[in-house]
C-alpha cells in the first residue's frame, strides 16, 4: 500500500506527469506567500484533503480532512490557511501553509453552517466567514478572532438568504458579499427551496460595524449571485448561476458600475459553453483582464473587464478554480486534476495534470 507521498511521486514520475512550460511567478496577493497555491481536493480513493502546490505545479503537501471542503483564504500573517467545509459546512480548518499541519478545527456555532468561503481583515486578526442560520434561513457573516484561537466574536446580519463568496475591497474597510438568494436547509440536502422568490444581491458591508452600505440586485431574480472578485482599483466583478431553464441563456457576469450591476453577455455559443453556471471569477490585479470558469459547460473565458469583450475561451472539462498569474495570465484548475494556463494573447496551455480532483477554488 502506497502512502500519499509515494503516490504523488509515482504519479509525477509517470508519463502522465507534468510538462512545466514557463509557469511564472505568481502576482503578489494581499497577504504572504505568493509562491504557494492551495485548493481543496478530492482524492481517487474517495477521501478529501486540502493541498498546496508550488510554482512548478509540484504538490507540497496534502492535509487530510474529514469531509469535502470548498474554498478558503490566506491569513496575511502567521503563515496560515483557512479552508471551509463544503456547504453545509459544519467546520473550518486552520492549517500551517508551509506544512499543511492542522492548527485548529473550528466547529460552526449551534444552528449555523458555513457555506465555503471567508476572508481576513488586512491585519490578519479578524476572519469573516459567510454562514447561514439554517432554521430561519438567515444569511450572516460570522466574525472570528484569529488572535484568540479563532473565537467567535461577532455576527453581522445580511438581511438575505444564501451568502456564498466574500472578499475584501482594497479600501480595507468594505466587505463585498455574493448573496445567492437560494434557501436551503440541511434536512433537505442541497435542495433549493425558494426558486420563485429568490432575492440575490451583491452586498457591500462595513467590516467593523456590519452596516450594509450597498445592496445591488441582478436583472433577474433567478440570477444566483454566487461568486465575486475585486480588482485593486476597486472594480467589483460578480458571477451568476442562473436557476432558470437551460435553454434560457442570460448574462452570467457583471461589473459594478455607478452603483448598479452592468451585466456582461457573450455570443450565444460562448453563453451555451458556460451552461448558465460560473464557479469562479477572478479580476487580474495587473491588468484589465477577468477570467471565469464553468465546470458544467467545461469552458473557461478571459474578457476585458472594462468593456466585457471576450478575448479568449478554452474547453477544459470540469474547470472551476481560477487564479491570476504574475505577468498577466491566469491559472485554471479542473476536477480532472488539470492545471491550465490561459491568457488573452495565446491559446490555453496545459501546465500539469495530477491524480487529484481540484475542488472549485484556487486560493
Amino acid at each position: 500500500m502506497m502512502d500519499r507521498r509515494q503516490l504523488l511521486k509515482a504519479a509525477l514520475a509517470g508519463s502522465a506527469a507534468l510538462s512545466l512550460g514557463g509557469c511564472t511567478l505568481l502576482p503578489r496577493k494581499s497577504g504572504f506567500n505568493p509562491e504557494l497555491y492551495s485548493a481543496a481536493v478530492g482524492k481517487p480513493d474517495g477521501t478529501f484533503g486540502v493541498s498546496a502546490f508550488d510554482l512548478s505545479g509540484q504538490p507540497l503537501w496534502v492535509s487530510p480532512v474529514a469531509t469535502r471542503c470548498h474554498s478558503g483564504c490566506t491569513r496575511p500573517v502567521n503563515n496560515q490557511l483557512v479552508f471551509f467545509e463544503r456547504r453545509p459546512g459544519w467546520s473550518f480548518y486552520v492549517l500551517d501553509a508551509s506544512t499543511g499541519k492542522r492548527l485548529h478545527h473550528i466547529d460552526a456555532a449551534e444552528g449555523e453552517h458555513f457555506v465555503g468561503h471567508g476572508v481576513f481583515s488586512p491585519d490578519g486578526r479578524w476572519l469573516y466567514a459567510t454562514a447561514s442560520r439554517y432554521e430561519p434561513g438567515e444569511g450572516i457573516i460570522a466574525v472570528y478572532d484569529a488572535e484568540q484561537n479563532y473565537q467567535r466574536v461577532n455576527t453581522f446580519e445580511l438581511a438575505g438568504i444564501g451568502p456564498h463568496q466574500i472578499t475584501l475591497h482594497p479600501d480595507g474597510e468594505t466587505l463585498a458579499i455574493a448573496l445567492g438568494g437560494i434557501l436551503t436547509h440541511p434536512d433537505y440536502d442541497r435542495l433549493k427551496l425558494n426558486l420563485d422568490t429568490m432575492a440575490p444581491a451583491l452586498i457591500l458591508m462595513n467590516r467593523r460595524s456590519g452596516e450594509i452600505v450597498g445592496r445591488l440586485n441582478p436583472s433577474h431574480h433567478q440570477q444566483s449571485l454566487r461568486h465575486l472578485d475585486v480588482h485593486p482599483s476597486g472594480k467589483v466583478y460578480v458571477a451568476y448561476q442562473h436557476q432558470g431553464p437551460r435553454h434560457e441563456m442570460p448574462a452570467l457576469l457583471a461589473r459594478m458600475e455607478n452603483n448598479r450591476l452592468r451585466e456582461i453577455r457573450f455570443d450565444d455559443e460562448t453563453q451555451a459553453g458556460l451552461a448558465n453556471y460560473i464557479a469562479s471569477v477572478i479580476a487580474h490585479p495587473e491588468n484589465d483582464l477577468v477570467a471565469a470558469a464553468s465546470p458544467v459547460g467545461g469552458t473557461a473565458v478571459v474578457f476585458q473587464g472594462s468593456t466585457g469583450k471576450l478575448l479568449a475561451k478554452a474547453s477544459i472539462p470540469d474547470c472551476s478554480g481560477v487564479q491570476a498569474l504574475a505577468g498577466g495570465d491566469f491559472l485554471i484548475s479542473s476536477g480532472q486534476g488539470k492545471l491550465v494556463r490561459i491568457g488573452a494573447q495565446q491559446p490555453a496551455v496545459d501546465i500539469a495534470q495530477l491524480p487529484l480532483y481540484w475542488d472549485h477554488h484556487l486560493v
Binding site: D187, L191, R246, H247, C319, Q336
Partner: protein, 347 residues
C-alpha cells in the same frame, strides 16, 4: 495503484473525446432528442394516469373503507410508484420546476422526516388542506408519505392507522397533490418539446441523467444497503421504499424505465458513433440485469437477511455495476460526456 491509474486514464480519454466531440457533432441529434421526448412523454403520461387512479381510489377507500378497497389502494400506490420509478431518471427540464422530482419522492431521508412530519400532521388539530400540503415541504408531498400511511408498521398499530379521519385526509390530499403534479409534469413536458429539440445542451443533459440514475442505483440503492460501502453493515432502511417492501421492485422499475424510455435512442446514438459492439453489450447487460427479477422482488430486509436471497441480490448488484461501467466509462467516453467532480456539485 491500479484504480488510480484507471481513473486517471479514463479522465484523460474523456478530455480527448470531449474535444473531438466538440469538432464533430453527432448525426441527427435533434432526431435523437425527438425520440427521447416522445418516449419520456409516454412515461409521464402513464404517471399521470396512474396517479389519477390512485387519487380516485384513495377517495373511495376513505369514503367507505373495507379490506378489498384497501388492497386495491395499496396496489394502486405500487402501480403509481413504479410509474414514477420508470421516469425517475429524468433530472432536467420541467421536473426541476418547483422541485417536482423531490416532491414525488423525498429520498434519502436519514432523519426520518416523513414519519416525523406525518406524526405532526396526523396528531395536530389543523385541518388537512391542499394549501397545508403545499406549504409542508417535500417530505409530505409525495409517494413516501403515502407509503408511510399505507405500510408503516408502527402507524398501522396506532390510533392514527388508516382509515382514521386525519390520516385519511392526509392520504387523499397528498394523492391529489401527486396527481396534479403528474398532470402538470406531463403537460409541461409536452410544451418543453421545442426548447428540448432546439437546445443542444439537452443532449448531454439526457445522457447524464441516465448515467446519474445508474450510479444512484448502484451506489445508494444497492451497494449501501447491502453493506458494500461505509461500515460494511447491511441496512435495509437506507434504501428507498423499504416500508412497502418494494425496494428491489423499484430498482427493476427504474431499469425498465431506462430500457424503455432511454435505451432505444441511446443505442442508435452509439451505433452512429461506430460503437455497435458496445451498444450490443449494453443491450445484453440490461437484459442480464432484468433477468434477476423476479428472484429479487422481495423486501430488502428479506433479501439482506437470507443468504440465498442475498446471493440473488449480489447477482443483481454485479449486473447493475457492469451496466454502470459500460454506460459511465465506455459509452461516456465514446460520446464525449464528462461527468465532473465540480460540475455535479452545485456551488
Amino acid at each position: 495503484m491500479q484504480p488510480i491509474i484507471r481513473a486517471f486514464c479514463a479522465s484523460t480519454l474523456a478530455v480527448a473525446a470531449s474535444l473531438s466531440f466538440a469538432d464533430a457533432p453527432m448525426d441527427g441529434p435533434q432526431n435523437t432528442r425527438a425520440g427521447w421526448h416522445a418516449a419520456i412523454q409516454s412515461g409521464y403520461d402513464l404517471l399521470a394516469e396512474e396517479t389519477t387512479q390512485l387519487a380516485e381510489h384513495a377517495s373511495s377507500y376513505c369514503t367507505a373503507p373495507d379490506e378489498q378497497l384497501r388492497a386495491q389502494l395499496e396496489q394502486h400506490w405500487r402501480d403509481a410508484f413504479m410509474a414514477w420509478q420508470q421516469v425517475r431518471f429524468v433530472d432536467f427540464g420541467p421536473v426541476e420546476n418547483n422541485n417536482l422530482a423531490w416532491q414525488f419522492q423525498f429520498w434519502p431521508d436519514p432523519k426520518n422526516l416523513v414519519a416525523r412530519k406525518a406524526g405532526y400532521l396526523t396528531n395536530s388539530d389543523q385541518p388537512i388542506t391542499a394549501d397545508l400540503i403545499e406549504q409542508s415541504g417535500v417530505a409530505v408531498q409525495g409517494f413516501p408519505m403515502l407509503e408511510y400511511l399505507l405500510f408503516d408498521e408502527a402507524l398501522s398499530n396506532s390510533k392514527n392507522a388508516l382509515p382514521a379521519p386525519h390520516s385519511c385526509a392526509l392520504l387523499t390530499t397528498v394523492t391529489r397533490h401527486i396527481a396534479e403534479n403528474s398532470k402538470q409534469l406531463s403537460d409541461d413536458w409536452h410544451s418543453f418539446k421545442t426548447p428540448y429539440l432546439n437546445t443542444e445542451a439537452y443532449q448531454v443533459s439526457t445522457l447524464k441523467s441516465a448515467m446519474a440514475a445508474l450510479e444512484i442505483l448502484e451506489e445508494k440503492r444497492l451497494a449501501k444497503p447491502m453493506g458494500l460501502r461505509g461500515n460494511g453493515k447491511r441496512n435495509p432502511y437506507i434504501t428507498d421504499a423499504w416500508r412497502s417492501g418494494t425496494s428491489a421492485l423499484s430498482v427493476e422499475a427504474t431499469l425498465r424505465g431506462l430500457q424503455q424510455h432511454f435505451l432505444p435512442e441511446f443505442l442508435k446514438l452509439l451505433e452512429q458513433k461506430g460503437e455497435a459492439p458496445l451498444a450490443q453489450r449494453i443491450q445484453r447487460q440490461f437484459e442480464a440485469a432484468l433477468d434477476n427479477f423476479p428472484g429479487a422482488d422481495r423486501p430488502m430486509a428479506t433479501l439482506l437477511s437470507d443468504d440465498n436471497a442475498f446471493r440473488t441480490l449480489q447477482g443483481l448488484y454485479v449486473d447493475v455495476s457492469q451496466l454502470t461501467t459500460l454506460f459511465n466509462d465506455q459509452a461516456a467516453v465514446a460520446l464525449g460526456v464528462v461527468r465532473g467532480f465540480n460540475s455535479s456539485d452545485g456551488d
